[in-house]
């Protein structure tokens, strides 16, 4: 019951944020130079009366806030407008490209969390050893490397010199390996640092000493008692990471010419296809808010203390 209240509260907090986001995005489009009707007609010659008629039909003669509600009601019905360049619905364009982006993000998330959590645990257990200092130093180096440069180097080595993988474009799942690696590198380094820090902290806690003292075997102490507590912040990070990866995907998809949503965003900005830009930014931002909320909820399930503390505080 307490959990339910907490989750409901979190979900309710997400709603004003999403509304704020839509207002900002609508306003950005509103202040952009260019008359939407002229863009829609794209140079067609029509009478001023026809322009007036269109303006009324699209609700452009209404005050800004009325226009906002028109726009919002269309968005809620899944109508993101029409691409000025290709004349296709924006939602269709996005849906066509979404699978590639999801596949890329899923691959890189699995890669970064498997690598990050494992190396994090190892370095925490072997704290102060040579292995620890090598891995810890390389993690700082790894997140100082720009993903797009790492991608270029991977392309050069694996696609050009060794001819193992395709250079760019999408020719099947193996086209995702290099992009996913470039996206996962900095993120795995963060995951490792966080896992290590949390494990080190948890291993110093009293209850771990108690667990050792009770004579529990090593696996039980480390996996059940230590890891379960240390992993909580790592899970939060997982949800915060998703939108961040989306930003990285724009750069990486453009570099590897993958036909995903990120590349669509890049191309649309170049072509000044504003409706597509707005649609993609809107979807990603709403996803971000959803992810943040989900993160809070999952944490509350994993760690009852948080529910209690925050329930009292706020």
């Amino acid at each position: 019951m307490e959990l339910l209240t907490y989750v409901t509260k979190k979900l309710l907090i997400g709603i004003p944020v999403i509304i704020g986001v839509t207002i900002i995005l609508f306003y950005i489009m509103y202040i952009l130079p260019g008359d939407p009707i002229q863009l829609l007609l794209s140079g067609e010659r029509v009478t001023p009366e026809r322009v007036e008629e269109l303006r009324r039909a699209w609700g452009l003669d209404q005050p800004v806030y009325v226009q906002y509600f028109y726009w919002l009601s269309r968005i809620i019905r899944g109508d993101l407008g029409i691409s000025i360049v290709t004349k296709q619905p924006v939602s269709l364009l996005i849906l066509q490209r979404l699978p590639y982006t999801l596949a890329l993000m899923l691959t890189s998330i699995i890669l970064s969390y498997v690598i990050g959590v494992l190396t994090g645990i190892i370095t925490a257990l072997k704290r102060g050893s040579l292995l620890d200092s090598i891995l810890s130093t390389s993690s700082i180096i790894c997140y100082s490397i720009p993903g797009f440069w790492f991608g270029l180097i991977l392309m050069l080595v694996f696609a050009y010199y060794l001819r193992l993988l395709p250079v760019s474009g999408y020719e099947g799942w193996h086209s995702l390996i290099l992009p996913a690696l470039s996206l996962a590198l900095p993120s795995s380094a963060y995951v490792m640092r966080l896992t290590r820090a949390e494990m080190v902290e948890v291993l110093g806690e009293d209850y771990i000493r108690t667990a050792w003292a009770k004579g529990l075997n090593k696996r039980r102490v480390l996996l059940v008692h230590a890891l379960r507590n240390a992993i909580i912040p790592v899970v939060t990070m997982f949800f915060l990471d998703l939108p961040w990866l989306m930003g990285g995907a724009v750069v990486i998809e453009t570099l590897f010419a993958l036909p995903g949503m990120g590349r669509l965003l890049y191309v649309s900005i170049l072509r000044q296809d504003y409706h597509v830009v707005q649609g993609i930014v809107l979807i990603i931002t709403v996803l971000t808010v959803v992810c943040n909320t989900l993160g809070d909820v999952v944490i509350a399930i994993l760690d009852p203390r948080i529910r209690f503390e925050r329930g009292r505080g706020v």
Partner: protein
């Protein structure tokens, strides 16, 4: 007022703190690396064999030799000279972004933490809203409106990333506001502004310095990423991101055009990350950034 800050900074730089810093080998390594990059940036006019925009059609895409130690690019420009001049841009951009971010984030955090109540709720709501946007995506949206260019990229990156400052400063202010010396200052009739500037701000300076050091690398990575996409610096600026954008078409023929600018982005970001980590340990051990 300024004297107070100078004293506070002197206190940070006293022997004890510095000695403690010296025990962090990685931090010292970061400081040395950063000094080298700053040295390159400052002496660029003297140590580069050519100007960064000097075109030489007869020596296009030459591999690294003694004459051109980093090779030449597709226009016959010396990559070494461009990379060295690029250090100036990267350091400037990093510094500017951090100044703008702190300029927005610190006052908001101070106000929220000091006054609490409605002001705090309002500021927290705005911070949450900005936090909700994924960084590169929002920067791209802003650059779409403002148009391409290095200045616009600096604005875009600053606007998307001031929220951590507000959060850290607010939390630190909250933890100080109820301490005795603040209550005493109020009791003797100091104005709110004077309390914020003379008593709170100097005391929360260490976490701000640490945060600034740690946000410079991400500022550099974001701006070079945007320049790499072609939305940032415009030719012939020797911006590292733009050099990668231009060199990308010749990556298989002339990998050196891409290898060296990227290497320097990495080294610069690395130097700040190493330094920032050590500074955090020394100045503010308990601090955590979300």
């Amino acid at each position: 007022m300024i004297r107070l800050f100078v004293e506070k900074i002197k206190l940070l730089g006293n022997n004890e703190t510095f000695k403690l810093f010296l025990t962090y080998k990685r931090g010292v390594a970061g400081l040395i690396l950063l000094s080298l990059i700053v040295f390159l940036a400052l002496t660029a006019d003297f140590i580069t064999p050519k100007r960064f925009d000097e075109i030489d059609p007869s020596s296009r895409l030459l591999p690294p030799t003694i004459k051109y130690i980093f090779g030449t690019d597709h226009m016959g420009r010396d990559v070494f000279s461009r990379v060295v001049y690029g250090a100036r841009i990267a350091l400037w951009v990093g510094l500017l972004v951090v100044l703008v971010e702190a300029g927005i984030g610190v006052p908001l955090g101070l106000l929220g933490g000091f006054y609490g109540g409605r002001i705090d709720k309002f500021i927290s709501a705005i911070t949450d809203l900005i936090w909700a946007f994924p960084p590169i995506i929002l920067a791209l949206a802003i650059v779409t409106i403002l148009g391409p260019g290095l200045t616009n990229v600096v604005i875009a990156v600053s606007v998307i990333s001031w929220a951590p400052y507000t959060r850290v400063v607010r939390a630190k202010t909250l933890s100080i506001v109820s301490r005795e010396f603040i209550i005493a200052a109020r009791a003797i009739g100091e104005s709110s502004l004077s309390i914020i500037l003379r008593y709170i701000l100097p005391n929360i300076l260490p976490p701000i310095i640490v945060l600034a050091t740690l946000t410079i690398p991400s500022a550099i990575l974001y701006t070079t990423a945007l320049s790499f996409l072609g939305f940032g610096a415009q030719p012939p600026t020797p911006d590292w991101g733009l050099m990668l954008n231009e060199g990308r078409d010749y990556i298989f023929m002339a990998p050196w055009c891409c290898v060296f600018p990227g290497l320097f982005i990495t080294l610069t970001a690395l130097s700040f990350n190493l330094l920032g980590d050590a500074l955090r340990e020394v100045l503010d051990p308990k601090l955590r950034y979300g």
